[in-house]
Each structure stands twice: as C-alpha cells, then as structure tokens.
C-alpha cells in the first residue's frame, strides 16, 4: 500500500468500506438480478451480510483497541477509540433492526425498492465518519452523507403527500442547519488554520477566554448541532419528519441520526471547545431546559404516537445534554448509557408501531392501539416495557440513563437542575401512560381489531431483541455499564 493509504488506514476504514461496498451492491442488485418479489427478499439478506462484515471489522478494531493499540488513520483525520466504537456498535445494531423490520412494512406500503436498503447502509457509513471523524472536512462529509440518505428515506413513500412534505421540510431545515455548521467550521478553520480538531483545540486555547470570534464559532457550530440532535428551539423539523417518514425510517432517524449527532456534539464540545466550558455551559443549560420544557409539554397533547415520540425525543435530548452540562466522569458515562438504552427502548416502541401498520390501517394514533392487550397481548406487554423504560421507571433500562444524569448533576452541585429534570419525569409518565391506558382499555374498540398485526419474522426477532435488552439492562445492567464506562475511559 502506498504512503497515502497505509495498512493502518485500511484497518480503520474497513467498516466504512464494507458499508459502502454492500450499499452500492444493493443499489446495483435490482439492475443486475431483477426487481421481482422473489429476488427482493435477498436484499435484506445482502444488507445483513454487509452488516455482518462491518461488525467483523469493528470487532477486530475492538480487539486491537483492547490490546492497547492506538488506531488512527489519514494523519489523524479518523480516530478509532472506545468512544467511537461504542457509537459504531449502536449504529450497527440500529441498522440491523431497521433492515429486519423494513421488508414487510415496505411491502405493505407498496414501496419496496432496493435503494432503500442501500441507503440504510450508506447512511450508516456517514454515521461511521461522524463517530470517528477528527477532522472538520471528514466530519462534514460524513454528516452530509448521513443526512442525504435520510432526506431520501424520509420521503420514500413517494405517493404520499405527508411523506413528501416531511422530506421537504427536513431537507430545507437540514440544509439550513448544515449551513450553520459549515459556517462555524469555516470560522474554526480561520481561527486555527487547520481542519484537525486537535490543532483547533490548541489554537482556541491560545486565544484566551472571551474572544468574540471564538464565541461566534461556538455559537454557529452549536446551532448546527442542536438542529441535528433535535434540541429545542431547533426541533421544529422533528415532529413533522418523524410523522411523515415511513415508520421504519422514523426509527432509524430517531435513534441512529440522533446518536451520531450526539457523538459529534460530544467530540466537538469536549475536544476543540473543551477549554471553553464556562462559555458553553450556560448555553447548554438553557437549551437543555428548553428542550425538557418544549418536549415534555408538547408531547402531552399529541394524538399520534410518532409525533409523541418525536417530542419525547426532544426531551430525551435535553436529559442527555444535562449529562454533558455536568461534564464529569459520571455525566459522560451517563450520556453514553442514556444513548445506549435510548437506542433499545425507542427502537422497540417504534417497531411496535411498525407492526401496527396493516392493510389499510395506519396504526399510528394512540386510539389505534386501543385494546391491544386483548388482541395482541405480547405486543402490548413489550410496548409497556418500552414505555416504562422511556419514562425512566425501574426495573427497566431507561431508569439507568436517568439515574446517571441525576447523579452527575448532584455530584457537580447542580441541585436545581436535578430537581427540574426529576419533575419532568412525572410529565413524561403522564403522556406515556396515555398510550398504556389506551392499550389496556377494552371499552373503545378501534376499527380493524380483527386484522392481525404485521408481525413478520423480522419484526418479531427485533421486538424480542430490543425488549429483552430493555429488561435485562434494567435488571442486570452490570456488563452494559462496564462496557459503556470502559469505552469512555479509553
């Protein structure tokens, strides 16, 4: 291999190569093999095979890292550490679940096309660069790769006005936020003369506190990032995009995209802006509190479960940001744990909604879930577990996330923030329990009760995996906590 592409570079890049390779292979699949229903089945298999290879590459990186190797590539533009691997595992898990649940859903929507599966992998490829990127250009390209995939996937139901509208909104606002981010990045480059995050950190620390240019760079970059993690007041796109997108994409978007953006946010705030804590902490507190307020209060009045989860996602982003506000070991571990459990519980909740989509029933309204306990008790009980977890009630995984955030706030003396964050738990319980109430009531029977849910094998497997993890992490979290903790230490 040449000086520009060493074997070390290859080792680091391998997961992305696999994702891109299989992503493109899937795109070509329909041309080469045909687009019949029989051949289409292989798309999922091909996608999962791609993920398996990616997983193998990640596994090797994890092994090398555990053995104490330093993994970086392209002169420090890509960095593999415990942090980025943790996120890559989350992305891998999310894509696998999305592939499993998409086939049947897209069949029902009559939009089962090969490019969907290709886009899932390509978006994950973008996420890889977001988690590993240590260079402004790499990061920005990764972000756009991910976002472009999502712009298309959100509008994938091309005959549905709702989906088109969502895609358009998401595209416009997403482009707008990318503009902010690019502006911030350009300022950072101007400040330091380098695109490498480490060099930027050095340059910023030399400029001293209160520098207006640094502040401008911080503010614009933050705005771009807040858009991506759907923190209030930059969350407007989320409810519409979540509602209009195919539910499988909603699941991918709400978990994958959010986790990837959080990885970037952590990288940027703890890296180049690490010394400016005094400057960004008040900003982050304000955004976190606003996210909690807007997310929780808006969720109360939603009738559509996807919208409800979008708003509750805003509030979850608020909780995660509070972990960063605390900023100590516990807080960062809390963010990692929170993202990890959020992945499982939010995917789980949305995939129950995926299964609700059958024949001519959308199944997205809270009322559509009425009486679920009677006709599909297993789904109802799983949904209950996910909702309890989202509300943060032990013994489910979601409690662990909240536990760490509260503890971190107390350790750093943010008592009032801790109390406020705790109070919102009651609000969250209220709106999540509106869904529970509907599922367990038998008085009102919605139309289509007799129609069985769209529980394909993939959905059932995904449900079992996410449900089991949500419960197991709640009851015996030790291995997961250790994994998340060790990832951050390295």
């Amino acid at each position: 291999m040449s000086e520009y592409y060493t074997s070390a570079d290859h080792f680091v890049l391998l997961p992305a190569i696999m994702l891109a390779l299989f992503g493109c292979a899937i795109l070509l699949f329909e041309f080469l093999i045909g687009a019949g229903a029989k051949q289409r089945r292989w798309l999922v298999v091909l996608g999962l095979a791609g993920l398996a290879f990616t997983g193998r590459a990640l596994w090797m990186q994890q092994a090398a890292l555990n053995a104490g190797a330093q993994l970086s590539a392209f002169k420090g533009a890509l960095l593999v550490d415990g942090f980025s691997l943790l996120f890559n595992w989350i992305f891998l898990f999310t894509s696998a679940i999305v592939l499993l649940i998409s086939y049947k859903y897209l069949e029902i929507e009559n939009e089962n096309h090969g490019e969907y599966y290709g886009l899932v992998l390509l978006a994950q490829c973008g996420m890889f660069f977001l988690a590993c990127g240590n260079d402004l250009v790499t990061i920005f390209i990764g972000l756009e790769l991910m976002a472009l995939g999502f712009y298309i996937m959100v509008g994938f139901l091309r005959n549905e006005r709702r989906s088109n509208e969502a895609a358009m909104k998401y595209l416009l606002l997403g482009a707008f936020s990318s503009g902010f981010l690019a502006f911030g990045f350009s300022l950072l480059y101007g400040l330091s003369g380098s695109t490498n995050l480490r060099d930027i950190a050095v340059a910023i620390s030399q400029r001293g506190a209160g520098d207006p240019l640094t502040f401008l760079a911080l503010a614009t970059t933050s705005v771009g990032l807040f858009f991506k993690i759907s923190a209030a007041p930059f969350h407007m796109w989320a409810p519409d995009a979540y509602e209009g997108a195919p539910t499988t994409v909603t699941a991918y978007l709400s978990v994958g995209s959010k986790a990837a953006s959080f990885a970037l946010l952590l990288r940027v705030f703890l890296g180049p802006f690490g010394d400016l804590r005094a400057m960004w902490q008040p900003l982050l507190i304000a955004v976190a509190l606003l996210s909690l307020l807007v997310g929780n209060l808006a969720a109360i009045s939603q009738t559509n479960v996807k919208r409800l989860l979008a708003y509750s996602g805003v509030s979850h982003a608020g909780y995660m940001m509070l972990g960063l506000v605390a900023g100590n070991q516990t807080g960062l571990q809390g963010v990692a744990v929170y993202i990890l459990v959020y992945t499982f519980m939010n995917l789980g909740a949305l995939l129950v909604i995926v299964a609700m989509r059958r024949e001519n029933i959308l199944g997205e309204d809270i009322d559509d879930l009425a009486g679920l306990m009677h006709h599909h008790p297993v789904y109802a009980i799983f949904m209950l577990v996910f909702l309890l977890s989202l509300a943060g009630i032990p013994p489910t995984a979601g409690f662990l996330g909240k536990y760490y955030i509260f503890l971190a706030l107390i350790e750093t003396g943010h008592y009032i923030l801790a109390v406020v964050a705790a109070l919102y738990v009651a609000v969250a319980v209220y709106y999540y329990f509106r869904i529970v109430r509907s599922m367990f009531s038998r008085e009102e029977a919605p139309a289509g009760v007799g129609i069985p849910l769209a529980g394909s094998l993939g959905v059932r497997v995904a449900l079992a995996v996410t449900g089991a993890l949500t419960l197991i992490i709640g009851i015996y979290p030790e291995p997961f906590l250790r994994f998340a903790g060790e990832s951050l230490m390295k």
């Binding site: 009630i393 536990y403 350790e411 209220y430």
Partner: protein
C-alpha cells in the same frame, strides 16, 4: 433453603406468577386455585421467619448479600429486624387474603389480575426487606406498576383517573426521593471514596445538619405521599374508592405502610440530626395531627361507605407518623403496632364493604340500613372490625393507639390531647356508620334478602378477627419483637435518651434498678 429463606419468601409470589402465565386463560378455576395456593404458600413459608427469629439480636437477621451492580456499588442485600418482620408477616398474610377475596368479585381477565397481585406481593416484600437503597428504590417503584393496573383495569367508574393520579403522585415523589438518595450516595463517596448504597455503610455518614435537612425533605416527599400525610393525601380517596376490594385491602393494609416504614428505616437512622431538628419535628407532628383530625372530620361527612373507610386511613396513618416523630420508644413501638393494626382493621373494613358491594353493587351508605336483621353474622364481623378500628380495649386498635398517645404525651402534652380528640372522632364516624348501615329497620327492600357470609368469606375474616383479639389481649410478643429495633433507632436519633430516662427514674425512685441500662449500639456490618 434455610440459608436463603428470605429470598424464598421474597420470590415465591413472582415464581408463582411466572408459572401462572403458563396456564391457559380459559381455565378460570385452575387460575384461581393456583393463585390462592401461591398466596397461601407465600404465607406459610414466611412463618419460619417468626419461629426462628431471635428477638434478642440487635442487628438484622437472615441477612443475604450478593454483588448486583458492582460498577455503581449496588448490592442485592436483604435482611430483617423486628419491625420489618411484622410488616412482612402482614404482607404475606394480606396478599393471600386479598387473593382469596377476589374469587367471585373478579370475573374478568383473571390471569392478568392474579399475575399483578403476585408481582405486587414480591415488590412489597422487597421494600420491607431491602438493606440496600438502590434495591429498595427498585422495589419501591415496582410496586406502582401492578397497582396502577389493578386500579386502572378492575376498578370502579373513575378507575383511569384514579389510577393515573396514584401513579403520577407517587412517581413524582419517588423521583424526588431518588435525588435525596443520590445525595447520600455521593456524600458517602466524598467521605470514604467508595460508592455504596448499603444501608449499614451509609449509617456511618457524617453530614452537616443543613445537608441532612435537605435530604430529609426529599425523602420525606417520597414517604409522605405514600403514607399519605396531609396535604399529600389527595390521591388516596380516589385510589381506594376506585380500586377493586382486594386492591383497597392491599393498598390500605400494606402499601401505605411502606411510607411509615421508610421514615422508620431510613429517615430516622440515616439522618439523625435532621430527625430531631425542632422545626422538622414540629412540622411533621403538626401535619400528622392535621391528618388525624381532618381525616376523621372528612370521614364523618362521607356518603360513600368506601370513601369513609379511605379517609379513616388518613386519620389512622396520622397516628402512625405522630408516633414516629414523638421519637421515643413508646411512640415508635406504638406506631409499628398501629401499622399492623391498621392493616388488620382497615383491611377488614374494606373487605366488609366488598362483601356488601358484591351483593348490592352500590357503596352509598343511604342505600343500606338494618342489615343486621338479614345478615347477623356479617353484622357481628363488622362490629368487631369497627370496634377494633375505633380502639376499643381488648381489641388490637386500643393497644396501638394507647401506646402512641403515651409516646406523644411524653413528647408534648398538646399532641396527646389532639390525638385523643382524634380517637373520639374516630369512634364517632365508625359508630355512626355502623348505626346507619346495620341497625334500625330495613328501609330498602333490596336489602331484605341478602345472603349472609359464605364459607369463603369466613375463611378470610377468621384469621383477621383472631389476630385482632390476640393483639388486643396479649400484645406482649409484639412488644418483645419490637424492643431491640426500636431501641436501636432511639439510640441512634437521641443517643442520650436512655441515660436521661434513667436519671429521671433514679431521681424519682432511687431504689429501683434501671431496666434498660445496656442497649447495644446498632451493629455495623
């Protein structure tokens, strides 16, 4: 088996629940039998706890400890002392009784119903056994989920409202309590460099009064909502009234005691300085007294039989918290005994409402009258329950109330005065209720042909009646079991209490030797 007896007691209901889930829903009688068997077995295997209990031991017994989540220092650590022993026995008994009393009143979704009750059983037992704050919190919250469904699915007309109100109130208070727990946890780490939730270790914490006060109020919220103390009681009438009979029985009989138990087990020993802080004691005592009087007055005004009993709980639990914050052996002992008594008496009263409700499907007091003519056995049982609740000597209620008043008298005479007023009011609303429903002529012909108690109803009233008389006539075993743990707590909160008592006693009668000269300090593991 004997080594892990406490774990067996704890997990028997949940194991029974898992097996219950395997029974097909159509086999209704099999489900009923199985649930009852599990309930009774749960009670039977808890009996060795009593027979093997060493009432002279100063520390926790049947202790089991395993690492659970080492990364955060949470352990599976359980053990009991006299206080928890009594509450555990009450729990296993009330669980089996409430399962039995649901036999004919619940016809719908049996499997889920009994599964919820068994899950609830384990959760409540866990609360009374945990010696680790994290474990305690998990069980504490776990109680909410089955109770929400018991009220929300099998409850009365406004069941959904009552269920979510119950859940929200308690969930909110518990999260705020969690913050207090985390402060303790963090403070311990600050002082000793180790993260632990273990109760015995947290005892060695050394916290400034100011910090203790904050933590105290945070724990107070969690416990006071559960008790419920005035003004946090508003969820209770709704939840009690809308819950199915068995739900009300377990709610009043056991669930409310989790709050008072929390005060005794955690607030007092962990925050001794805050617990004797004059402001805090005054506030708590005043809230208890308001609860006693207000609960009784509101009970007097009720038109709904079940709501009357529900409000009477507010009044009775006021006695329990007053006893706790008298902060002397009499007050604490009386409080625990009264908690048991309240479980028995109010449990019976709710069962009695359940019996007539099942026959007439109305809870309005005005619908009844003269029932003693058609249901003489029932009227007798009701009379016993009513008198035991009102605190008639020879029945259990008297022992508890008397001891609490003695403790309150020692702490502050005015408190005792108010408490006695509460007892009088209690007798008033109970006797009046009895008079309106049981005595006189039959005014409503629908009541003319009501069947008297059947054998199944006798089966669950009998043990409660026996206990009521037993505690009323021979309460000595209870006092003996409670002596050591109560002394431990009093020593912890007021280290000089016993010495002062001796001094006073010696000054009064120098010849009499001090009976409680040597009280062992709480053992730290």
């Amino acid at each position: 088996m004997t080594e892990h007896i406490l774990s067996w007691v704890l997990f028997t209901p949940v194991i029974g629940m898992l097996l219950l889930l395997l029974i097909p829903s159509e086999k209704k009688n099999l489900i009923r039998w199985w649930a009852n068997i599990v309930g009774v077995v749960g009670f039977l295997i808890s009996i060795p706890l009593v027979t093997n209990f060493d009432k002279n031991a100063a520390s926790f017994q049947y202790v089991e400890k395993f690492d659970w989540i080492p990364s955060i220092g949470a352990t599976y650590s359980i053990g009991i002392d006299g206080i928890s022993l009594l509450l555990i026995m009450l729990t296993t008994m009330m669980t089996s009784i409430s399962i039995l009393c649901s036999w004919s009143s619940i016809q719908d979704r049996l499997k889920e119903y009994y599964a919820m009750f068994l899950l609830l059983g384990t959760a409540m037992l866990g609360v009374f056994m945990s010696l680790d704050f994290f474990l305690f919190y998990v069980f504490w919250e776990l109680v909410l989920i089955p109770m929400y469904f018991i009220i929300g699915i099998w409850g009365g007309e406004r069941k959904l409202y009552a269920a979510i109100k119950f859940f929200l109130y308690t969930a909110l208070a518990s999260v705020l309590m969690l913050l207090g727990i985390l402060v303790l946890y963090f403070q311990y780490h600050q002082q000793y460099g180790v993260y632990t939730f273990e109760f015995s270790k947290l005892m060695s914490l050394n916290m400034a009064l100011d910090m203790q006060r904050w933590v105290f109020w945070s724990l107070f919220l969690g416990f006071a909502v559960k008790v419920p103390m005035f003004p946090f009681h508003t969820w209770l009438p709704d939840a009690h009234t809308e819950a199915p009979t068995a739900g009300s029985v377990i709610l009043a009989g056991v669930l409310l005691k989790m709050g008072t138990y929390g005060f005794i087990r955690f607030s007092l020993p962990l925050l001794p300085k805050a617990s004797i802080d004059p402001t805090i004691v005054r506030v708590l005592a005043v809230l208890s007294i308001i609860g006693i009087i207000y609960g009784a007055l509101v009970s007097l005004m009720q038109k709904d039989w079940k709501k009357l009993v529900a409000y009477s709980s507010v009044s009775h639990l006021g006695f329990c918290t007053l006893g706790i914050f008298a902060l002397n052996p009499n007050g604490l002992t009386g409080s625990v005994i009264q908690q048991i008594n309240h479980g028995i008496s109010t449990g019976m009263l709710f069962l009695i409402v359940g019996v007539v409700y099942e026959r007439r499907h109305t809870r309005l007091i005005s619908e009844y009258g003269g029932l003693a003519h058609v249901m003489p056995k029932f009227a007798t049982v009701f009379a016993i329950a009513m008198l035991s609740s009102a605190g008639l000597p020879m029945l259990n209620g008297f022992i508890g109330e008397f001891t609490i008043v003695a403790g309150a008298f020692e702490a502050n005479r005015a408190w005792a005065g108010f408490a006695v007023t509460g007892i009088v009011l209690g007798a008033a609303y109970l006797l009046w209720l009895f008079q309106r429903t049981m005595l006189g002529k039959i005014t409503n012909e629908k009541n003319a042909n009501l069947p008297d108690l059947n054998w199944r109803e006798w089966a669950y009233f009998t043990p409660l009646i026996v206990l009521a008389f037993w505690i009323g006539l021979y309460p000595k075993p209870l006092f003996e079991i409670l002596e050591k743990p109560v002394a431990n707590i009093v020593m912890r909160v007021r280290p000089d209490y016993y010495q002062n008592q001796n001094r006073i006693r010696e000054a009064a009668a120098p010849a009499v030797p001090a009976p409680v000269a040597v009280i062992p300090v709480p053992a730290s593991h």
